[in-house]
Amino acid sequence: MVAKVIVVTSGKGGVGKTTTTAALGAALAQAGQNVAVVDFDVGLRNLDLIMGAERRVVYDFVNVIQGNAKLNQALIRDKRVGTLSLLAASQTRDKDALTEKGVARVMKELRDKFDWVICDSPAGIERGALLAMRHADIAVIVTNPEISSVRDSDRMVGLLDAKTVKAEKDEEIEKHVLLARYDPDRAARGEMLAIDDVLEILSLPLLGVIPESRDVLKASNLGAPVTVASPVSAPARAYKDAARRLTGETVTMTIPSDKRNLFGMLFGGRAA
């Protein structure tokens, strides 16, 4: 089994990298794939919390790198989706705890064990972010329809094309935009950058559009990926579509909505 390695990155903080890592990882695992999600944010780990596994972390990424634990001991299997595992980051303040050699060794081990390895990058362009992207085959660049986020995404494209193993071997790293926190109504009123604006500016293909939704915060409150906490919610459907596109399926691009139409309002159902 040789996994595909995805890095979920953005440059800017708070755009939805960790939410995306958890949701895409869970969506792929729910479809029967073997998935590991890996937190690269040493010192500020949060993927464990979003996944609801914060009290189950015994060993972490740094322990595995330093040889204090085996990879199998550090991987935390999700209680709801059996094919989903988490490798937590360490809370150490030593930013150099992740070594380039150590990361390469652990990534190789993960590749042999899983179908997908999803690396949750820290914000910024420092060491942790560069190590998270280093071994990736595919980059998912999470972007909000807001100028500072788009600018930072553009910066990440440059780094992905220069600092990854693939780039150094003169191979093309596959790059996709995932547009998160999108509000179709505001975009229609011209108050928010539209999907085409962002795609044209970044000249990258679109993996999916995640609508702004209350369900994302609800899921994080509960400690479950949004595709697990509210599987039929608009963001969950958007993430599931994005996951299917990653596996090579052709899925028509739509922006799922929770809005009820008149029929739905009358009968309490949901409109697709």
Binding site: I147, V150, A162, A187, G190, E191
Partner: protein, 92 residues
């Protein structure tokens, strides 16, 4: 802003402004980023070569790139010590 200008802006929204600002900014940043990477690398490598023979301070090596529409130029300005005591012969 005129009365009509205010009216137009409120109808059109602020997204077109955001789009235009981004396009201008990124077209600039993309060239600057690729240039500055090249300039940094060239500066280090030139310094390493010169330093094998002459003592040069890092700050005394100035590498600049000027990108024109037709021709781009690279200017390298290296300040070396006035006396040649600093010179290291090839087989020293």
């Amino acid at each position: 802003m005129s009365f009509f200008g205010m009216f137009k802006r409120s109808v059109q929204g602020t997204a077109p402004v955001a789009r235009e600002r981004l396009q201008v900014l990124l077209s600039h940043e993309r060239t600057v980023a690729s240039e500055s990477d090249l300039v940094v690398v060239l500066r280090e490598e030139i310094l390493a070569v010169i330093a094998r023979r002459v003592k040069v301070e890092f700050d005394n090596v100035d590498v600049r790139m000027n990108c024109g529409e037709v021709v781009s130029t690279l200017t390298v300005d290296i300040e070396i010590p006035a006396t040649l005591d600093a010179f290291t012969p090839a087989h020293a």
